[in-house]
Structure formats: C-alpha cells, structure tokens
Symmetry: C2
Subunit: 758 residues, 2 copies
C-alpha cells in the first residue's frame, strides 16, 4: 500500500491534476469536513494531514473551539493550530494571518464571507468587503495559503502572533487562554519569523510556544510592525516584552494578483519552522501540496473499503468518520521542547476520557503501527513527567474528567497483541495512576480522590465527580488486572480484579426510579447514602439539593465539573460497567428487569446520544441474549442523530469520538475498549473489506440486507457457522471473512453465547 | 542613597577611573569573591550584579557546581549562567564561549590557566597554551568579555550553546542536566544569536531555555558552524533538531589585539536578549560596565558600615558575607516565559531550606524592598503554579528537603511588618502546603508525607526524611499559627499552634546517648519506636541497620536523601526546635541537663558546622540564661572555621547561607527566622551602623571590646539600660543605638529575661 502511495505522490508532481482525474474513484472524495461543523459537533473544518501538527482554519469572532463558525459570522483571520470537536475553553488559534487591501494602519481586518467551500485538504473563501479569495491547503507542519486579490487593488497581509482563541477579560479566568508573549521579525523581503507564547485554555496548561517562519512568493513592498497598540515604521522587529506584536505587510498593487504564502510552524524554534518548510514544501505548487495530503488520506481511508452499492450518504458518513478519527492526537515527533526528541511524540490527547472507547480502537484497527507510536509517546510522557496523559495539550498534561483512562488504551493494545510496546513499563505507568495520588492539582493527571478510593473502595461525595470517578477507577483497575495477569503477575491480578468490583460500593440496591431498581448513588465518607446533597461552602447557609438518578443539572452556583456525575446522570452511569455487565444485570434484578430498564432508558429520553458515557449502552442487549435489540437501538440512534449535514453529529466530536462510534456501527462491529472482542451488530454497509497492516484482509458481508432484512439470521466465519454475537480481535487480524445472513425477523443467532466475562 | 548611586554612575562614564580613585574608601573593595571558592564552599567566583540574572564564569572540567575549580584544572570555556554554593547535581552552565588561536576545526579548545585574578565584578585569566587574556565583567542581563590575543596571532572564538554543566553518560540520570536542544545563527559579521534548552539538574526541573545575542566589536572574518559532531562551511545557521550546535568564529590576525564581546541573555527570546544589551550596555566601555556594577554593590554594602578600626580580615569576611547573601535568588523580572511578566519574578531559590534561617532575614534587614519583591514573586508562583517554591531553578519548583520553608519566609516578613505583601494570600499559600499533599512527586513542592503527618501527628519511618520533615512541618505550622493570629483568624491559630507541637510525637524520652536523654527517633505507622530500621526493598532479604542518634551515614545502597534525617543526625535535629526551646529544655531534663547536652554536642564533635540544621544551636544557651556561653561557642566556631582564605567557608555556601550566618554573628545579632527578634551575642565588630531603608539608622557599639573583654557586662538601648539578650526587629527598625559594655568575665546581663516563648 505504501508503494502505491509513493507512486501516486510522484505522479502528483509531474501530472498536477492526478487527483482530479482519479477524483471519482478515490475515497477521500467522500470525506466532507463540514459534517458536524455546525450545532454541537465542533469539528475542525480546515485542511489537515492525518494526525497533522498544523491545522490552518479561519477564526471567527466569539472564540469558537475549532476556530470556525458558520456564515454570516465574521472572520478575523486564519490561524495555524486548532483542535477538533472539543468543548470547554478554547485552545490554540496561534499565528493568525489575514489578507486585506488598504492602508497599514489598523489591526482589525475582520471580514464577512461571501462564499466558502471546503473539501478534504482544501478550504476556500471569498471575503465580502474586498473580494479577496483565500485558499488553504497544508503539509504536516507547514500551511500553504493562496490569496487572490482583485485586479489593481493593493495586496496586504496581516501576520499576528499576538492572536489566540479564548481570550477573556479576566486574563487568568479558568479555562481562558492567557497571553504570555509574542515576537515578530521581518527577516527579508520574502520572510517573516516570530512566535506566540500562550498558557491556560481548557486543560489549564503551562505556557507553550508556537514558532513560525512565513515565506512569500512576492517581495514585501512596505511594512509596519506593531506592538502593544502602536504601529512602528521602519522597525523590522518587535521583541518579546510580554506584549502583543504583529506586522502589516504590503505587496503593492502591481505584479500578479495571486500571493502564495507558506507558514512553517514548530514547537522548538523559528529556524526549525523554516527547516520544516524546506524539507516538506520546497516548492510553490499549491496543487502538489494538496495532492500529497490527499494521497496520505487515501492510503489510510483505503484500508477499509465498502461495497460499491453503498449509498453516497453512507460513504460520506463512513469515510468522514474515519477522517475525523485520525486528525488527533497530533504527531509532534521531532517537535518536543521538553526532552530529547528522537522518540515518537504526540500531543493533543483531548481527551482520552472521550477517545478511549472508539477513536482509539478504530486507530488500532486501521493504523496499528501509528497506535504503537502513540502509546510509546504516552509511555515517554510517563517516564519524563511522572504520569500518563489523560488529557494533554500544549505540551502539558490535563485535565482528567473521570478515570485514568490511559489504562484502557494500554490494556486495549495488550489484549489486541500490539507489538513494539514495553508492557512492563506500561504496567508500571498504570500502577502509578492506581497507587500514587496526583496531589495538589487533582484534575491534571492520575486519579483525584485516590486515597479515599483506596481506603473506602469508592470516592465519597464531596470530592468532585465522585460518582463517575469511582466507576472509571473500577474499570481502570480491571484494565490493570488484565495486563498484570497477561504478564504473569498473579498477585497484582488478584488485587486489581477485586478492586474492579469497587463500582458495587456505590450501588444503592433498594433505590427505585422510573421503574428501575438499584442505582449508583452518592455516599459520604462514613458510608451513609445521601438523598440530599450539600452544595457550596458557606458556613452559615447549608444549601442542599435533592439528588435523584435523573438529575444532570446542578444549582447555578456549582461548577459543572464539581458534580457527582460528570456530564451525565445516574441512569446513564448505572449502565456503564463495561467489564462486568453480567453482575450489573444481576444487581438490576435479572435479565427481564434489565431489559425493561434498558427500554425505559431509551424510550424515556434518559439516554444521551451527545456524550460518551453511554457509548456502549445500546449494545447491552447482547448480554441478555437479544443482540437484535442492540441493532434496533443502534439503527434508530443513527437514523435520528447522524447524517451528512453540517449538524450531522449529535455531540462534540471530541477528537473523533462521535465519528468513530458511528464508523464502527456502520461496519457492524463495536469494540468494548480494553477487551479483546468486538460486538457484532447489523451493519449499515453491506460489505466492508479491511486491509490490515499485516497484509491480511478481513471482509464483513451482510447478505440480502435491506431496510426490511435488518436482523442477522446466521453468521459464518471463514465458511463455518458462527453463533456468537461478538468476534475476537485476533479473528479479524488473522484475515478472513465474516458472512452475515440477514432476515426480516429476529432469530436465535447470537442469543446463547454471551460476550466474555470478567 | 539612590541619588548618590546615580551620581557615581554618571561620573563613571565621564571619568572612567572613578572606581580606582575611590578604591580605598569604597566597601566593595573588601569583597573577595574567592572566599569559600575552594574546599566545600562552592561559591560563584565570577562577576555578578546583586541578584543578577547573568553570572559569567569559567567552567572547569568535571562538572563543578559553580563552574569554576582551582588551578591547575583546565578551563573548557566561559558560560553565562551559574549558581552559587550549591551541592548535588549541577545546574546551568549555558551559552559557553572560549577564545582560542588556530584552525576552525575542533570543538575542544580547553586550556590551562597561567594566572587568574578575581575581584568584585571582575574576572581575569591568561591561558597557558596560547597566552590569550580573558577579562569579564557584567551587567544585570549582559556579560561583557574583553579578550586580548597575543600580537600577530589569529583571534578565534568558540560559541557553544550545546554546552551545559553536569552532563552524564546516562542522560536521564537523577540530578543530571539533560540536553534538549540548541540553535545558533550568524546574524551579521558582528552578531550571533541562538539558545540552549536543558532539563533536569539538581531540582529535576522541566526544560528551560537560555536565549542569547552576542555582539563583537570586530567583524567576523571567517566562521564554521557545528552540529552533532560535524562542521559546516558557509552555513550561517544550525537549527534545533535536538542536537548540539555551535560556531567557531575567526576575527583574523590583523587589527587590534583586543576583542570585546557582549552577550545578552534572556529567558524569553533572542531578540529580548538583544534588547537587554541595547538597554543596559549600549556602549563598548568595559570599565563603565564594571563601575556601574561596583556602584550597585556599594549602594547595598554601605547600608551596613563598620568601624574604621575593624581589621582588614574582618572587613573582608563581613562584606563578602553580605555580597554572597545577595547574589541569589535571581531577579528575572521581565524574563518570565511562563506567565505575563509585569510583576516581580525571581528564580533560583536554591533552596529556601538553606536560606530561610539567615540569608533571607539578612536581605530583610539590608534590602527590605527587594525582599518584598522576592516574596511577591513567591506568591505569584503559588498563584500560577499551585505551590510556593521551596527550591526553584530553571523556572520550575523543586526540590524539597525538609519542610515547606516558604512558610518561615512569609512569617518572618509578617512579624517584621514588611509592607506591600498580601498576607491573606500568603496565608492561603501556606495553608495549601499544610493541607494539600503534593502528590505524584513528593519532593517537588509542598509537604511530602503530609497525609500521614496530619493523621498521625508525625511522618512515620518509611517516608523519606521522616525525621526532619516532622520537625520542619511542626515549625512551619507554628509559622502559619503566627500569621493566622496576626490576621485575626483564631480558629486557624488554635489548630496550627497545636500542630506546632508535633515534633514531640517523635521525641523518645527514655532514649539515652552520650549522657543525654530524649531524642527525636524513628517511629513506624503503628506508633512503635524503631531501634533497627529496614533499608532496601528486597522481598527476600530484610537488611536492617541499627539506628542511633549519632548516625549520619546510611548503608551504601540507600540514597542519602532517603534517610530519616537529611544531612544530619538525631543529635543535631533533636536540638532544632526554633519555636519552643523552653519545652525542648524541659523534655531534655531541665536547664542543667540541657547545658550538659549542649556542651557534649559541641565538645564531642556532634555539632556539624558545615550544614544548616544546627545554625541556631550555638545560641541555645540564651534560653538557659547563659548568653555568654552562646557567645563563646560562636567565637570559637568562627575562629576555627571561617577566614578570608579560599577555604574560608566550612560548608556549601548555599546561596549565601553560611556567609549570612557569619555576617549576622559578626554584628552580634542572630535572627530566629519567622520570629520578630534577634538574639544578642558578643559581636566581632566593635561598631556597626545600619542605614535602614526607612531613612533611620541603627548603631551597635561594643565598648572596650577586646580579645579579653569578650563578655557583655551591660547593655543600653537608646541610653536606657537593656537587660534582654535579644532585641525586637521593630526596635532596630525604629532607629537608635544599642551600646554593649564589655568585660573580661561573664556577667548577669541577659540571664533573666529569656527570648519570647511560643
């Protein structure tokens, strides 16, 4: 596959329109970066290489997370670093540029868009005010801009390293990015260098620095530099004195209307950014940059091929799903300013709480060598900084939301036999999370509330997010147990497999709600169940709040990350025990009661499609021998919530979490991350062929599938009858074919052999 | 005083030899930077402004802490950043330069010294091999070098941003500085820019970057650049790819023999380093730089004047003591790469465990406005990073050795009424230390072992440094109590004044050793005293070690920072209860037993003059009404251990800790840091006049003092009989005179009113 890619790449240089000739055949054409861009999806819409370090995109006013907002919002400029699908305070938005026409006398060059076109690797807009066209494509570490100015108008460009997303009036407000410093130098009549240094943002991270080197294919005719509100003529440089700096450049109104700009970025230095340009894009051919990017994506996307008869919409939803999954975390190998950098280095784990369930397993399936690099980067972060990342951005760990979910990622790699990982080191890193409290900042890394968890077997009410922390820690302990067992450390296994039951310590078995009995509920340090919970810290007032399993909101004066369950309620979390569904069923009153409970959950709008805690829940019918009900739920959820529109994702995409949930289900597979199998559901795509990195192929075919024939009647793995509604990763990895025979009625298939138990 | 300084400064420009004309009268001439440079003192010997950011000095082979080692050790070059008096793994040693003559074909230009001369602000050496003379002086952020090459030889210079101190074969060995990256660019024929990025060192800190801008007063005739073992002709820049870079420059063999070089440094950027040169040293006059530095020191040193009849040796010891006290921490205001930098910012608290006892109080006395800035910088570190510094270097907190001694510094400022500090914030910062365990890295900041300390009232054996941590935490709790009381928070006062007794929980009252009874001894979690303590973690072997109060060493396999008492034994630490000497005396069996104990301590070599834990102990006779015995001990200790030689300090100077202990005792005062008084002892200087920053003066005169008349017979404060052997800070700060009448015999003076109690 790689050889093929290279061939295309070189063809791309000699025949510049290769990508257009092959357009209809190539899979990247099915990627629509606008899916999930509006509403709650918040996906990054600009061009990006797979796991690409540079992510150029327009920044619209009012600080959106991905930079972009739909028209008619104004565009303040185009910055080079963004994230995809995140919530909370924005991060990045560094090194902003903006074309304009006119005097070099004001920093604000905000414009409205007259049009906008986006496809994979390509962004285009024309500004209303001045008719300037902006086109963007990108390399791994270098953005490429083509500006076309109207005939006979003057060509100006702002370069603003003082800009960043998420600026707030209170500079050190929680989650606000905060300005630390910036610098700019006009190096020659075709080069500008500088940097932006910012701290904070959603992960409350330490200062990070984005260095840049910009080159132009036309000489600068005139310029002013800017610092702290003032413009300076004939001053080539504005040094960093903790103030915002920028430059306004004029390329005159003669010569060609097209101005090409390359912006190399680096986290090490401006010269490294320059070198990144020289290595990656030594030429001025926009189309070559674009076709190189397209080929990189084609190489990855073509690892899963779908049958020709798949609808255009499904192809778009599926390949866009794969695409969204592989734009983060970000490959910063060779760009690590914190330690020697000849090892893989990844940043923007944003966050593993979101991605461990589906994004991470999907990368394992499509791009397992990359996954090994990502995990080795995580282990290096542990070695050098003391803890695995849970969230990480701007070269700093933070924040945790629930568990220390790197454990799931490591266990998932272990049970799926990924090679090239030091699992002894991995276990040591996991044990650090499980035994050493993170201390002063209990939401940066590790496990907040750990001492209580170890002492009491649960996190007591009073510690932020006590409920979901308890549940996640129990699962993370299970992950540790599995790896320990695999490494022959039975003492550790015995200890952690026991701790994996800790979720039961918050199970209030007599508590009833909406016809269901037994819920994860708040308990205090002394072991008392709490019906009313105290909020606030006033010594005089003791405001309380009735806590029930359907409550998700909290009083206005309580921060949303301080509640018992983070971004969810007890109904959701009381169904989120991925390692011990059989015990959960037993505790819920047996199979019948559990089925009723699931039905109530989905039928009474207690299920929240917009967030990750309930990702696995539609599949729980598998454990009561009714996989067809799982498939029914999944089909309905997808039909009602996912589509090819700009609002086609029902929640924050969170680095591809939503998108990969969809992509898995479209294939008819769903991973239980950290465990070696996938659940089998009715796919949306009739035929899927995975080209595995080991050279083997695995095909999933749903015979006679239609809107009506939506139930699996029988299955055959490599020609042999297969009665399990789940399949081991090894069975896929060994290559072969899974044939599903479809029917219009539920059958007995998959009803007797339940998924592997704890 | 400031106006006077400025006048001198401008005179310095017009009459370049001002500093020589006034030489005999000015106090800076009594500073000998070589005192304490050999043996264990490890003081920085190069030129430095007070609290100066740049500290240029030779680096000798084998990684010394201050860079310098005595002849005949080879010099590898001169780097721009150093620390003074430290132990453990070296820090800094960045941006090394080295003059040489010959081909541009090798990085190693190491030379032997033929001569070397050092005075305040000035370093000079001539190399044996090539007769090149190097002279160095410095500004706050800019080093100034004057190289004189022999006639008709070619003038070459190495600039090596890849160099750093403390490199080890195992790159991430504990306490080793580790290379992260470097970069160099020949900007023009008179300018070079670049940086050095290093992590680790004694405080195991995150990566820091020292940027530089070098300018020459002669044009570069020829150069090669260097990267990762190879030389490059005609390549002006070597970008950062995680490899060592450097440049060899030739200034030819024509023109003047003198090459002047200015090296600006910055922690923000190269352009900021350039700006630092432009602002601070816009000219090429070596002598002006030197006289400016001398005047800065003169301004500070002249705040304490000693009588004319003081011996030359005593003047040298005293003023060098003041000098050593004020070269660290380092003023990096405007150079903070971590957050907006318009507030005071200091780095290189190295460490407060060393400096809280005497350095910090001496700065309060001489330079209280500076002290307020330093404390505000500490509070900013708390605000932005979550914890006050205990140690801090390279923009990162770390390490702790005993307590969270920032508490002592804050309490000291509070009881001495320093204005301009938000003491509510200070209390909040102190309470963070006292209540929130630092977590994952228990030696970076805060209080390691805190949970046990809070639960048990002591740190149990098994936690590193359990003994001295318990003692220090108890004192730090006392500091909190005092500030809380002063702010009217009696609940907090009551809680912490109780915790201040926690040292008693490790007091093993029936334990006898060398005739003394009662010692701080190791106790396990269950409350059992341990006679034999386990070392090592083997499951098969259970090696034990008999623990006694005289033991300081540990078995070879135990790290020296993991023992029960850090850098001391129980004899020392069992006398280190600075907030409750009366109770210590009671527990030791009363006044007689305590006097015997002290005598045994000093007469049997149990006292360790080389380290800080016993700094206060010679004064403890005050609390049994025998201050003359304190004075006797102090005089003997000074006579036997301190002098004007290069080995004139008996231990690591630790940012001036040893030096300030000496300076206080020479004046006849000794602070009990964190408490509002100074103990009065027989001074070594007959008359001391302090010029306080509030405009007032305070004079201490010892009338008729001689080698024989070494006992205080009577004292008079502002003419009134004064019978206390201690004096309040306020009494000094209000101005006035303390007259001590001396006699040849101990008297009843100071024997009845003991120092203030807890």
């Amino acid at each position: 596959m790689k050889i093929y890619t290279k061939a295309i790449f070189f063809l791309g240089i000699t025949i510049c329109c290769t990508h257009q000739i092959n357009a209809q055949k190539q899979l990247y054409n099915y990627v629509d970066p606008m899916i999930g861009s509006e509403g709650v999806g918040r996906v990054f819409i600009g061009p990006s290489c797979p796991y690409g370090m540079v992510k150029p995109s327009p920044d619209c006013t009012s600080s959106p997370n991905s930079g972009w907002l739909p028209m008619p919002k104004e565009v303040t400029g185009f910055s080079q670093v963004h994230v995809s699908g995140t919530g909370g305070g924005p991060k990045y938005g560094n090194i902003q540029i903006m074309p304009f026409s006119g005097a070099l006398d004001k920093m604000d060059q905000t414009s409205f868009r007259a049009e906008e076109n986006v496809k994979l690797g390509y962004y285009e807009t024309v500004f209303k005010e001045n008719n300037i066209k902006t086109e963007i494509t990108t390399g791994e570490k270098v953005s490429f801009y083509r500006f076309t100015y109207p005939k006979n108008t003057s060509k100006e460009l702002k370069i603003d390293p003082g800009f960043f997303l998420g600026e707030e009036k209170i500079p050190d407000a929680r989650e606000a990015q905060q300005f630390v410093g910036s610098q700019i130098e006009i190096v020659s009549d075709t080069e500008v260098r500088g940097y932006s240094r910012i701290r904070g943002g959603w992960n409350n991270g330490r200062a990070y620095t984005v260095y840049f080197w910009a080159v132009f294919d036309q000489p600068i005719a005139k310029y002013v530099t800017f610092k702290d509100g003032k413009f300076y003529n004939n001053q080539k440089a504005q040094f960093d004195s903790g103030k915002k700096t920028a430059a306004l450049l004029s390329f005159g109104n003669t010569g060609k209307e097209e101005l090409n700009v390359k912006i190399g970025i680096s986290f090490l230095s401006e010269l490294k950014a320059k070198n990144n340009i020289e290595i990656e894009i030594p030429h001025w051919d926009f189309n070559t940059v674009l076709s190189t990017l397209e080929n990189k994506w084609e190489n990855l996307l073509s690892r899963i091929k779908v049958s020709e008869d798949t609808s255009e919409d499904y192809k778009k939803m599926f390949y866009t799903g794969l695409y969204h999954t592989m734009i983060m975390p970000v490959d910063r190998t060779g760009e690590n300013p914190l330690w020697t950098n000849d090892e893989p280095y990844y940043d923007d784990f944003y966050t593993i709480w979101d991605t461990f369930r589906t994004s991470s397993p999907l990368i394992t399936l499509i791009d397992s060598k990359r996954k090994v690099d990502i995990i080795n980067a995580m282990l290096n972060i542990y070695k050098r900084e003391g803890y695995l990342p849970e969230g990480r951005s701007g070269n700093d760990n933070g924040r945790t939301q629930g568990g220390s979910n790197a454990e799931v990622v490591l266990a998932d790699a272990f049970v799926k036999n990924l090679k090239g990982i030091d699992y002894e080191l991995a276990l040591q890193a996991m044990l650090k999370d499980a035994t050493v409290p993170p201390g002063g900042n209990e939401e940066k890394e590790g496990r907040g509330g750990l001492m209580d968890y170890l002492k009491l077997g649960y996190v007591p009410y009073g510690t932020d997010r006590a409920g979901n922390r308890t549940i996640d820690y129990a699962y993370n302990d299970y992950n540790i147990a599995i790896v320990a067992k695999g490494l022959g450390k039975m003492d550790l296994y015995n200890q952690y497999i026991k701790q994996a039951d800790n979720w039961q310590n918050l199970w209030r078995s007599d508590y009833e709600n909406n016809g269901a009995k037994g819920f994860i509920m708040p308990k205090d340090k002394d072991g008392n169940w709490l019906d009313d919970v105290v909020f606030g810290e006033s010594k005089i007032q003791k405001p309380t709040f009735k806590y029930t399993p359907v409550i998700i909101e909290s009083p206005w004066y309580v921060c949303h990350w301080c509640v018992f369950f983070y971004e969810g309620n007890s109904w959701e979390y009381s169904l989120s025990i991925p390692h011990d569904v059989p015990e959960l069923i037993r505790k819920s009153g047996g199979e019948k009661a559990f089925e009723d409970r699931l039905n109530t959950f989905f039928n009474s709008d207690l299920y929240n499609v917009a967030n990750e805690p309930s990702f696995l829940t539609p599949c729980l019918y598998h454990w009561i021998g009714k996989p067809y009900l799982s498939s029914d739920r999944i089909r309905t959820i997808i039909k009602n919530n996912f589509n090819t529109s700009r609002e086609g994702l029902p929640g924050n995409d969170d680095s591809g979490a939503m998108s990969s949930w969809l992509a898995f289900h479209m294939m008819g597979l769903y991973p239980n991350a950290g465990q070696p199998y996938y659940l089998i559901n009715t796919p949306l795509i009739k035929e899927t062929i995975m080209q595995l990195e080991n050279g083997k192929k695995f095909k999933i075919s749903a015979k006679k599938m239609s809107d009506k024939n939506k139930y699996i009647k029988a299955a055959f793995l490599n020609g042999k009858a297969y009665n399990k509604a789940w399949i081991l990763h090894d069975d896929i990895n060994n290559g072969g074919e899974l044939v599903l025979e479809m029917d219009s009625k539920p059958s007995a298939w998959g009803t007797t052999i339940f998924p592997p138990k704890k």
